[in-house]
């Protein structure tokens, strides 16, 4: 697969604040690539540097293999979609969508042709004569998307486009965006702080923190094999449980002890034991690989029940079936799926490999 967007050694400071530090990014052509990170991680700055709206202090941007570092935004032929829809209030949806084409003085028949295609793709045929004030947030977001699509650009850059929508619409639009991406086959570079959006839509995710890329991979690769403690707790909800421990022949913390399933440690290694809520079970078959604690809180969510358990003064969350009934203070044992546990160095917080 060819490389649609490449960022090499990008650094960017705003005054004393280093927003990006030697950032590297490699976005394959046609991929749905998500930049994921908390606010302040440098996601939006990265997007703006790629779009040409921000000049990097060092480093280069390549588009389809050609150095575009000095190109103007227009020359880069990238379409941006923001969380604010920025529609012209006095124009109909159709006029809003076609405004970039009219600015380019494209012929009427070509404009109509493209509008028709975009309207079909977005299922917005019946909205075309409406004004922004007559549309819902979700509909306006579709129109904003249409205005980007109609340009048929090299790639789409999207900056948290679903943030302002309510939960139900966000869920719907996630499905819509993956469908649109698939029918277009274009490159999507998508910025979000919502790990659910990254997990659910991305082919590839780059997890950003403090201006550097922590990990790149498919959502499942990152979920199953986080490279450090920070990525482990950022990806997944509920977040990965972490227990302070000492690892050697066994992994031991306050009030618990488990066999070491093969993590490479020497001596008594101070570490963090990481286990996801679905890899703990209150249905214990083998006491040797279980933890004992007391129930702290029980949270029925309908399709599952989250059971918070206190183990040696620390808390873990366990995903249990919806029928689970426990009471606060009840002693319980939690079975650990030792195939799926993680160990992180207490100092560096990097993942410790298995033999």
């Amino acid at each position: 697969m060819s490389r649609a967007i490449v960022a090499e050694g990008i650094s960017k400071s705003f005054g004393d604040v280093e927003a990006l530090k030697q950032l590297e990014l490699d976005v394959p052509e046609g991929s749905f690539f998500v930049l994921l990170g908390p606010s302040g991680a440098g996601k939006t700055t990265t997007l703006r540097v790629i779009a040409g709206l921000e000049k990097p202090d060092t480093g280069s941007v390549y588009l389809d293999g050609i150095d575009a570092t000095k190109a103007t935004p227009a020359e880069r032929d990238l379409a941006m979609v923001f969380q604010s829809y920025a529609l012209y209030p006095k124009q109909t949806a159709a006029e809003n969508i076609t405004s970039p084409l009219r600015a380019r003085k494209m012929s009427k028949s070509d404009i109509d042709e493209r509008l028709k295609r975009v309207a079909e793709l977005l299922h917005i045929e019946e909205l075309l004569n409406r004004y922004p004030a007559q549309m819902s947030g979700g509909q306006m977001q579709r129109i904003a998307l249409g205005r980007a699509l109609v340009r048929e650009p090299r790639a789409f850059l999207m900056d948290e486009p679903l943030t302002n929508l309510d939960l139900k619409l966000r869920v719907e639009m996630r499905t819509e965006l993956t469908r649109i991406h698939r029918s277009l086959g274009s490159t999507f570079l998508y910025v979000t702080n919502d790990q659910v959006e990254a997990m659910s839509m991305a082919d590839q995710v780059a997890v950003l923190r403090e201006g550097t890329v922590q990990q790149v991979g498919s959502p499942t690769e990152i979920y199953d094999g986080p490279v450090n403690r920070w990525v482990a707790t950022f990806m997944g909800s509920p977040r990965m449980n972490m227990l302070e421990c000492t690892a050697n022949g066994r992994i031991e913390g306050e009030g618990w002890s488990l066999p070491n399933p093969g993590f490479k440690v020497s001596g008594d290694h101070r570490a963090l034991f990481g286990v996801r809520s679905e890899d703990l079970s209150l249905d214990v078959r083998d006491e040797a690989t279980s933890l004992s604690g007391t129930v702290y809180a029980v949270e029925p969510l309908g399709d599952r029940t989250l059971v918070d358990v206190e183990i040696g003064g620390q808390r873990v969350v366990i995903k249990a079936p919806p029928t689970a009934t426990y009471t606060v203070g009840e002693p319980v044992r939690a079975a650990v799926d030792m195939e799926r546990v993680h160990l992180f160095d207490a100092e560096s917080e990097q993942a410790i490999a298995r033999r």
């Binding site: 996630r174 499905t175 997990m199 909800s237 509920p238 949270e299 969350v317």
Partner: protein, 353 residues
């Protein structure tokens, strides 16, 4: 703590908007009672009427044995907790908790006794001399609760206290609120628009819609059998699949021959809307069921949500993370588990037993 009774509460604003319409609620002693609904449903207005921050147009509110209509908020023996982080940063934990009693000019001995009692119940004794910035989120939350407790309220009223926290902290705080409420056996009325929070916290949930009570029940009752299409759409994410169906011989049958177990209480030939949770569909590459096409796949790590297009509509299906189907793949979709609730297409109310 005490019971709270809301009787025929009616609240109309001067501009004519009716925020709450003839609402009846009975909140039990020691109950965590959640009022859930979208903005404008009347949940916050109801809470503010209970607190005495709004005056009801008609109706009655009783806290414990006392009818409180006409009483000022400070005379109602209730504690409002808005934002858990509204602590005074320059005051110690002890002084933060003592603050409401000092403001009420209570004698020093009583202040010490009440603060000590709250600190013991909330396990805050080791932190009394620290300032809030030295505490974790959970500890700060306990201080905020302690500050409300020292006045020995009959009930705690909470208005979206977790809304402004980030997702991680919100999940932690949710467990903390639930744990404390149960330990203290406190009567708590909790307002939220977040269905996950309502499910996780509530002993009972009151779903509100346009000033009216749409449904009242325990979380799993509300989840398993929403009383109306409104409640069905509001609880659960992804939402319940709502499917037009007809009662045939022992089944609900939808377009394309999709069959679901028929619930009790319907008559043959009746046209209904079936409400099927995403976990009550399953998909397979080959096998029983109707034909569907995978539209999208959301791998969430611990599970995968598939959107499948069938003749009867677009369905969300919840599958284990190990399920592997590709977009555009043609699959078989089948209903599994208990009979779904069924709704009348016109009244939008549940009609199955």
């Amino acid at each position: 703590m005490a019971e709270v009774h809301v009787r025929k509460l009616h609240k109309a604003f001067p501009d004519g908007t009716v925020a709450v319409e003839e609402l009846d609620l009975e909140i039990k002693d020691g109950e965590l009672f959640v009022m859930l609904g979208p903005s404008g449903c009347g949940k916050t207005t109801t809470l503010r009427c209970i607190a005495g921050l709004e005056e009801e147009t008609s109706g009655q509110i009783q806290i414990g044995d006392e009818v409180v209509s006409g009483l000022r908020p400070s005379e109602r023996d209730i504690a409002m907790v808005f934002q858990f982080y509204a602590l005074y940063p320059h005051l110690t934990v002890r002084e933060n908790m003592a603050f409401p009693l000092r403001a009420a000019k209570r004698p020093e001995a009583e202040i010490n006794e009440r603060v000590a009692e709250a600190a013991r119940m909330l396990q805050l004794e080791p932190y009394l001399t620290r300032t809030p910035s030295k505490l974790s989120g959970g500890e700060q939350q306990r201080v905020a609760l302690g500050r409300a407790m020292v006045r020995h309220p009959k009930a705690f009223l909470m208005d979206e206290p977790l809304t402004n926290l980030d997702a991680e902290l919100r999940a932690d705080m949710r467990a903390e609120v639930k744990h404390l409420q149960q330990r203290l056996n406190a009567t708590m009325i909790y307002v939220t628009h977040d269905q996950t929070e309502a499910m996780a916290l509530g002993d009972r949930i009151a779903i509100m819609n346009k000033g009216n009570l749409e449904q009242l029940g325990a979380p799993m009752e509300v989840y398993n059998r929403p009383a109306s299409l409104f409640a069905a759409r509001f609880i659960g994410s992804p939402p319940m699949n709502l499917i037009e169906a007809e009662v045939t011989n022992g089944h609900l049958t939808a377009a394309g021959g999709l069959q679901m177990t028929a619930p009790e209480g319907l008559s043959r030939g009746q046209k209904v809307i079936a409400g099927v949770r995403p976990e009550n569909f399953t998909i397979s590459a080959t096998g029983d069921g109707v034909q569907g096409r995978i539209v999208s796949r959301e791998a969430l790590g611990d599970e995968t949500i598939f959107v499948v297009e069938c003749q009867a509509g677009l369905f969300h299906v919840r599958m284990p993370a190990t399920a592997r189907f590709d977009e555009e793949q043609v699959v078989a979709v089948r209903h599994v588990g208990v009979a779904p609730p069924a709704y009348d297409p016109t009244t939008e109310k549940v009609v199955s037993a």
